[in-house]
Symmetry: C2
Subunit: 613 residues, 2 copies
């Protein structure tokens, strides 16, 4: 047995032992799913993954994504073996306040973990995004993704397989830990590696099958993967709980720690505890290139009507000329969202992902992990397709810039399948999210620019139809702010709108004014964070608020107003919510707004009711 | 040319012409995507789809799903040709109030359409659900699904391919309209039918390639598909806009109606307008069998603590013994959600779909369309994966019974990737949805039983840990109701909780009582519809409400309370929302509730603040 062979095997045994130790200390976790990966991780980190442990942000580093996040103990054991964390930290697994959680998540203390995992089937798209970022920068690295076999049933994996092959991403290697057992019993295909080989090949990948506990075979497979200029998957036949007789290939041990009284016996079977340290190969001394000339075009401005979706495209194309870090992703709707405007000016930073929204968000998460200011856009309705990926991006502390177009019943004739009417609720509920909904071209441009430098998941909601210009080019639109368009000393009622309903609120205010009711009108372009002081003052001043949204009545702008009022003191007055209450069909935009009760007439009626108290 | 050949070609030309007429009349829509499907639909409806047009609910009928929903005009033109709708209705396409919307949706006037489409990649799983329902019943029908080529990039298609092959569903035929052009230009694979053949075969399907405008070849392919006992895909090479020189295989015509001044020329190229009527082949005279003996076991009851997720499994297993229409779907977490309890008592009505939540919801939509009382369960966090499918089920007017387990930070050590903290907001925002969150075993059982007969999307949220028993077996839990657990004449404050937080509210009430503050406690087990009169009375009586939820503070139970208060009159008093404000990590459940500020101490502090005003 060669020196490296011995080292790899010893390191794998240590990873297995440490996975057992950490989970038994925690009293829960997934030791057996960790043990099946031990040899795969040992060979990878000891001799293939090129990374500077002391400089995890080094752009020349390879990247590793643990897509099968429940095998987190094996990842933490590996981080210990490369000197990133110490044994004391390892034994805090799953405890309150520990950086090493039940599933991997990037916290400040763990800069070696780029993204969160634990919702299955998401890692490959993230790895693809990393590989694309490296290729855009000319960086030398490879993205490695460890997949579990259960998660191969998730369609999102096949979206990423397809996209990686289409984009001819050679610097992406997937490793499939084919351990045959899922959470509740055997997987669909067991150890039939040929099934996955055939599928991978049909999706344009190179596939290599190996015994996942034969370190020399693993080493050879990794070498072959790196030499191959297509994306490559190493399909490794493994045993869950490998190396311990009472765990190996046994059902009933998923997500269970070994009881303390059996731990010693298990460790003994693995050759006892070790304290090996390995240093991964260093990355090359590549440094990012200096950026060349960009196009210092002026910001777009508008005098007349424009659709906010078009202003979004204009703004993004303008910013692409200023910011070399800006990358834009499309899900084959770029001519509707207007991201195609970026494709024209910066085609090298426009990535077409076809109709695969989950893949789009995963790729975006990978791109931003490597420093890109990554944007993705689709119809707002279709971002629901990637809600799990967006939720996981929050746990990844990722900066996702998202645009959802064609909001509300105002899209009209295409009908309800294309209408985003739940998106404000969906995005508001995410931790640290920002939700913006501009009403004209100028505010759209300002908010798109602000989003480029704002952390977390930021969401811009745009409208299909053209809307009138409301603001001059010098107006500022801070996130968390609002605009009061009409205010007097003795306002009777406050109308709060955003996007298309701001315009109907303004029309309603005019109608009310003709009847002697003075209405204050607030543009709540920042739905989250909402401008709570202004909303509170509106209730205190007028005692009557009508909130109008082209969105379901639950959880959207109206809820944001009510939550802000509740958070800022006692409630006194009337708040009426207008929004979508029923299932829309097709129709003209103005017909549908009338049907939903969010047009001028409905606002006037609600305002009268609110003033009456 | 044989008689049928002539008929098929004439019928295809009529479908193309009517698609053009309807979209030009509407001024928008997708005629060219309809024209590529015309021959495929003509041969299918004239000679293969067995259905009684006069009795669309006949359980012996075949089923047709238009997965590429934007080709709706072709579907409506076909419905006209089989006598389901008249030409006048056809020409109301996309108008306000018309049953024929921009994308197919089942409205009462259109019983020939079972499910909505328009969000791509969803139809195959729905067809699979229909095929499974037929097989369970011993019905003779076949489910036919028309797919577009752009939607093959959606991973959800491959989830359904995998599941159909795994379940050996021979009565499912997919037809792929390979027209080469997507919304904004060529698709990824153009006319490379071999790519889809190889993938389909690797996923366990039979694949047949044909010229999609050669009706005899199409007929032969359909015959072969029906004869094959594996799921079969007919890959049909077609032209978008086929039959009209200025449309055929041209870019720039997606989603555009032909201008009125060019309509006549287009129709002339297709041989002019026709008024053919065809009658599909009748289904066999099969009738559903009489149901045999079921197990009339008594409902589960609880004296001591039980996890509501376990009570859910108990209830479902009990109901499976009473209701032969009950079917349960699992996404490989049945030992966590406890749907495995049904697998034990009714394995023939338990369908394992592995880790593919999108497929699970699509199958459920198909099952319920054929009359099954279909349940699906996963971790609440992972239902986010299928939000688009659930949203589309609403437009399908589908009855989905869903359970999301492991709600909130209270799951503890597994960490945030497994915690549902956005699910109440997500489900509340859906039209006609019902959101239930029981706090003990008895209320869980009652609500599960009620859900079986409740229309629309109904969602039950369950908890991982055991909770104390609160209610006797005779207690009723109507949807839309609540329970007031502690009420006095002079209550100082109202505490509203649901699920796990009801228990912390009760503990807090006791602590407050010791300090001379009397707290009313309300179990808001029906989060939507919420018991608005009781909530309103609580504000009127006590002037101070604390709402506590193990969920993000945006859009959940607190928002539901505020929205109910706003909807029922003027606001006067203090409402404080307690919920999750930050990104959780791992920890013990009680540690995480303290961290989130939803434990007894936090409630006591908030109640004091609320009482102070």
């Amino acid at each position: 047995m060669g020196d490296r062979t011995q080292l790899w095997n010893d390191l794998a045994a240590q990873i297995a032992v440490d996975s057992l130790r950490a989970t038994t200390a925690a009293g829960s976790g997934h030791p057996t799913s960790s043990m099946s990966s031990a040899h795969l991780l040992a060979v990878l980190f000891a001799d293939h993954l090129r990374t500077d442990v002391g400089d995890p942000r080094n752009p020349a580093n390879d990247r590793f994504v643990m897509s099968k996040g429940h095998a987190a103990p094996a990842l933490y054991a590996t981080l210990k073996a490369i000197g990133a964390i110490d044994d004391g930290t390892l034994l805090t697994l799953r405890r309150m306040g520990s950086p090493i959680q039940g599933h991997p998540a990037p916290v400040p203390e763990l800069p070696w973990i780029d993204v969160a995992s634990g919702s299955l089937g998401q890692g490959l798209a993230v790895g693809l995004g990393m590989a694309l970022a490296m290729r855009m920068d000319g960086a030398p690295g490879t993205a490695w993704v460890l997949l579990g076999d259960s998660e191969m049933a998730e369609g999102s994996v096949w979206e990423a397989m397809e996209a990686a092959a289409f984009h001819e991403v050679g610097n992406l290697t997937a490793v499939l830990d084919l351990n045959r057992l899922g959470q509740r019993g055997p997987t669909m295909h067991g150890w039939q590696g040929d099934v996955f080989r055939d599928r991978a090949e049909a999706f344009g990948w190179t596939a290599i099958q190996v015994d996942g506990h034969d370190v020399d075979a693993i080493d050879a497979a990794y070498r072959a993967a790196l030499a191959d200029d297509r994306p490559t998957i190493v399909i490794a036949r493994t045993e869950k709980g490998h190396g311990v007789s009472f765990l190996a290939d046994q059902e009933g041990w998923h997500g269970k720690a070994v009881p303390a009284d059996r731990l010693e016996a298990a460790i003994a079977e693995l050759g006892g505890a070790r304290d090996l340290r390995v240093t991964p190969h260093s990355p090359s001394d590549w440094k990012p290139m200096q950026v060349g000339e960009l196009r210092a075009a002026p910001a777009p401005t508008y005098d007349g009507p424009v659709a906010t979706r078009k202003a979004f495209g204009d703004a993004l194309a303008w910013l692409a000329g200023h910011r070399p870090d800006l990358v834009v992703l499309d899900g084959e709707v770029g001519n509707s969202t207007y991201t195609e405007d970026v494709a024209r000016v910066a085609p090298e930073r426009f990535v077409q992902l076809y109709i695969a929204e989950q893949c789009m968000i995963g790729v975006q998460t990978g791109l931003q992990a490597l420093g890109k200011t990554a944007w993705a856009a689709s119809f707002g309705a279709f971002l629901t397709r990637a809600y799990d990926q967006i939720r996981m991006a929050v746990i990844s502390r990722a900066d996702l810039r998202l645009c959802g177009s064609h909001a509300g019943v105002s899209i009209g004739e295409d009908g309800p399948s294309q209408m985003a009417v739940e998106d404000l609720a969906m995005f508001r509920a995410l931790d640290g999210s920002t939700v913006l909904y501009p009403a004209d071209g100028t505010s759209t441009v300002k908010l798109v620019a602000a989003m480029c430098d704002h952390p977390g998941v930021t969401y811009l909601r745009t409208t299909r139809e053209a809307t009138f210009s409301l603001y001059g080019a010098d107006e500022a639109f801070p996130i968390g702010g609002s605009k009061t368009l009409a205010e007097g000393g003795e306002d009777d009622v406050t109308l709060i709108g955003a996007g298309v309903t701001l315009h109907t609120c303004m029309g309603a205010a005019e109608l009310l004014g003709a009847d002697g009711i003075t209405a204050r009108v607030i543009d709540a372009y920042s739905v989250k964070p909402i401008d709570a002081p202004t909303v509170r003052r509106a209730l205190d001043d007028t005692g009557a608020i009508v909130v109008v949204e082209d969105h379901r009545v639950e959880g959207g702008l109206g809820a944001a107003v009510l939550e802000a009022l509740a958070a800022t003191g006692p409630l006194a007055g009337r708040v009426i919510q207008l929004g979508v209450h029923d299932l829309p069909g097709s129709g003209a935009p103005e017909e549908l707004r009338a049907w939903a009760g969010i047009d001028e007439d409905a606002i006037v009626a609600a305002a009268r009711e609110a003033v009456a108290g």
